[in-house]
């Protein structure tokens, strides 16, 4: 039985887990606490519900105005911008703005001054489809600096990020679907995120049309980083298969699974991680 310590925390309107393997318990607990403290700090930058967060302040900008951002907020928005381009606009961190505005707001990042500029509309970010993944990536960096390389980080059950597998194990056993689903992969140094309609119903807007995403019931994305998998799994909910194939052709490190086939018909050229039964 692997020596795994688990620590739980509530943040970003969901639950997070830090699992650390093969480490002395007190040290693991302190490392996990440091990672969870970092998570709370990241939330203070990224939450649209905190009046003093970067994201809440951005929503106050008038067209033409700029705002200096904290480094984490800037980094997260850089990834969001990149994912928007990489997914042909199927992922947008401002998709929810379509509930109150006729078109997506326009914004631009200014790296030299670590600022954001509002170009058009009201830049109302909702980082619900990327912020949790971004937080997992930053928490993983911290755990590695603590020399705790064997970890599994979980955000709300919808995004996971795995480090080294526990000793004598081929990977962290991660299921695609509900508890104890037989569709499982053994993951290490990989992130897996899922999106779907089962919990919240139809809640994902297609940023390109403003309509509810109904194309998939569930989709999963497997990538190297959690910010990418988080955003990509959401984009998968609104993309059709030709679009997905086009995107995957440019991103060979991504793998996508759609219901009902799941891991039986992965999309993308990345090698499928091993299944438990293959070990």
């Amino acid at each position: 039985m692997a020596n795994i310590h688990q620590f739980n925390h509530r943040a970003m309107a969901t639950h997070f887990e830090v699992r650390i393997a093969d480490e002395e318990r007190t040290y693991a607990a302190q490392a996990a606490q440091a990672a969870l403290d970092l998570l709370d700090k990241l939330e203070s930058y990224l939450s649209r519900f905190r009046g003093s967060s970067d994201i809440a302040q951005i929503a106050q900008l008038a067209p033409g105005q700029k705002l200096r951002l904290s480094e984490p907020a800037f980094a997260c928005l850089e990834i969001a911008k990149r994912m928007e381009l990489a997914t042909l606009g199927a992922f947008s961190a401002t998709a929810s703005a379509l509930q109150t505005q006729s078109c997506l707001p326009s914004w631009n990042l200014l790296p030299e001054e670590l600022s954001i500029q509002c170009e058009r509309g009201r830049v109302q970010f909702d980082l619900g489809a990327i912020g949790k993944g971004f937080a997992l990536d930053r928490m993983a960096e911290l755990l590695r600096s603590w020399d705790c390389p064997s970890f599994l980080l979980v955000a709300g059950g919808s995004s996971i990020l795995s480090g080294n597998p526990p000793k004598e194990s081929a990977g962290w056993s991660c299921g695609l679907g509900d508890d104890n689903t037989p569709q499982r992969l053994l993951l290490a140094h990989t992130s897996l995120s899922g999106s779907g309609l089962a919990v919240k119903g139809s809640h994902i807007l297609d940023p390109r049309t403003g309509r509810l995403a109904l194309r998939q019931n569930r989709a999963w994305a497997l990538t190297d980083t959690a910010a990418e998998s988080d955003a990509l799994s959401t984009a998968c909910m609104v993309l059709n298969e030709p679009e997905l194939e086009q995107i995957l052709a440019h991103n060979p490190s991504w793998l996508i699974f759609l219901e009902p086939d799941g891991i039986d018909r992965p999309m993308g050229s990345r090698v499928l991680p091993r299944k438990p039964e293959e070990v």
């Binding site: 009046g51 302040q57 105005q65």
Partner: protein
């Protein structure tokens, strides 16, 4: 006609009728230094150093980076792990700094500084502040001023002797919501009537001890040099007598400073508390105290509790209770509330609304010719009409830097902060001795 009662410092967005829209617009028009607009006026740059890059130092840094005309040129921390983390972070935000382990080296080598921001453990504050003031620098020092009354007193003495500025980091004193509520609602509108009581708290849940990455453990010689028994004490200094001032100082200082700011100096304190939960702390882990404040109209008693074993109890706040109303304040706007007693009939909510002292929580209908009929409506709710969305420490730092420039006056200079400092140390004494401690106005003068 709305009385022009809103001054710029308070950043107020009050309005008689339209609520959120005007509030929002009023805030947008605020020339926040963080918003980089075209054609900005050029301001003299103030070169500063940050001494201490722990949790509080990180919070302060983020606000400092938002403030125009302030350039961080040096960073100091005895722990290389934090120091390098800070330098890396600053490099990412295009702000290269020189780094120092020792603040005395920093003072010896940095010859173009105007000010320092100190965010180190409490027992370092007095020697560092005194040295920096004597080196001709203005100082922003985190609260508590010191872990001893003598240490705090020495800081005020040096401030007077050098003529340099000393701002203590009680950041709520520059918070526009607090400023507005104190100046307008409490004092001008007499919202509470006669103040008879106050209640305040900050409770925190049990947490793991602060640890450290093994590979970054400080050598024993370095720890000894800087006053720590071991790495665990260095990382958890707040629990140790001789390094920090205990929970009433760590957490309580925020609320007790507000009690003193709004009510004046207490005349006595009683307290109870103990080390009942943790096995490895010096300081008690819970305390409940009561101050007596001699107000013009009579005594008001103020209860304060700090728990480090539970976060229950509704967060952190200060509640001022009077015979006509109650104001509940917090740095967290969602906790703030105002309540009027039924007997407070001389001034109506509508009057308060008209004068901009309060804001209706739900906006009234835009079209007065329309009315909707449905189930019985709930009573209207009112709130403090201040919209404030900067990081909580930023206005206090801005106040400090603006005072250096000669365009403001310190909101919490060392001599004023000493009153709170003294009251907190006396509360610790009351808890330790389980007795009533008298406090005289003479004692609280540094």
């Amino acid at each position: 006609m709305v009385k022009p009662l809103l001054n710029r410092r308070e950043f107020i967005s009050a309005t008689t009728a339209t609520g959120a829209t005007l509030l929002l617009n009023a805030c947008k028009s605020d020339p926040s230094p963080k918003i980089a607009s075209a054609g900005k006026s050029s301001l003299n740059t103030i070169n500063i150093a940050l001494i201490g890059y722990g949790e509080e130092g990180k919070v302060l840094l983020e606000s400092i980076l938002n403030i125009e005309g302030v350039r961080l040129v040096a960073l100091c921390d005895i722990w290389d792990y934090h120091l390098q983390e800070g330098a890396r972070y600053l490099s990412k935000v295009n702000n290269e700094v020189r780094t120092y382990e020792n603040y005395e080296d920093l003072l010896a080598k940095e010859k173009d500084l105007q000010a320092v921001v100190i965010a180190t453990p409490d027992f370092c504050h007095a020697p560092m502040t005194n040295a920096c003031l004597k080196a001709g620098l203005h100082v922003y020092c985190e609260k508590m001023m010191s872990n001893t009354i003598d240490g705090a007193r020495s800081m005020v003495k040096t401030m007077h002797e050098t003529g340099k500025l000393l701002q203590i980091g009680h950041q709520r004193r520059s918070n526009p919501r607090y400023l507005f509520t104190k100046n307008r609602l409490l004092e001008e509108a007499k919202f509470c009537g006669r103040l008879t009581a106050a209640q305040s708290q900050w409770n925190r849940a049990v947490k793991e001890d602060f640890g450290w990455p093994k590979k970054y453990e400080l050598p024993a010689s370095t720890l000894t040099k800087y006053g720590y028994k071991d790495m665990h004490q260095f990382r958890n200094w707040r629990w140790y007598k001789g390094l920090g001032g205990g929970p009433l100082s760590d957490l309580g200082a925020h609320q007790i400073d507000i009690l003193n700011w709004w009510l004046g100096t207490p005349k006595s304190v009683i307290g109870s508390g103990g080390l009942d939960y943790y096995k490895n702390h010096d300081w008690y882990d819970n305390a409940m105290i009561i101050y007596e404040y001699p107000l013009e109209q009579g005594v008001a008693r103020a209860f304060y509790q700090v728990q480090t074993t539970t976060s229950a109890g509704g967060g952190y706040y200060e509640m001022f209770m009077g015979d006509e109303g109650t104001i509940k304040m917090s740095e967290d706007p969602s906790i703030c509330s105002i309540y009027r007693e039924a007997r407070a009939t001389q001034v109506s909510w509508d009057d308060l609304l008209q004068k901009g002292y309060v804001r209706a929580k739900t906006a009234s209908a835009d079209d007065a010719a329309k009315v909707d009929v449905r189930e019985t409506a709930q009573l209207a709710e009112y709130e403090i009409p201040v919209f404030f969305n900067k990081p909580p420490h930023q206005p206090h730092l801005e106040n400090f830097f603006n005072t250096i420039r000669g365009t403001a006056k310190l909101n919490c200079p060392g001599d004023e902060a000493f009153s709170s400092e003294y009251s907190i140390h006396k509360a610790n004494e009351a808890v330790a001795t389980q007795t009533r401690i008298a406090i005289t106005p003479e004692e609280v003068r540094a």
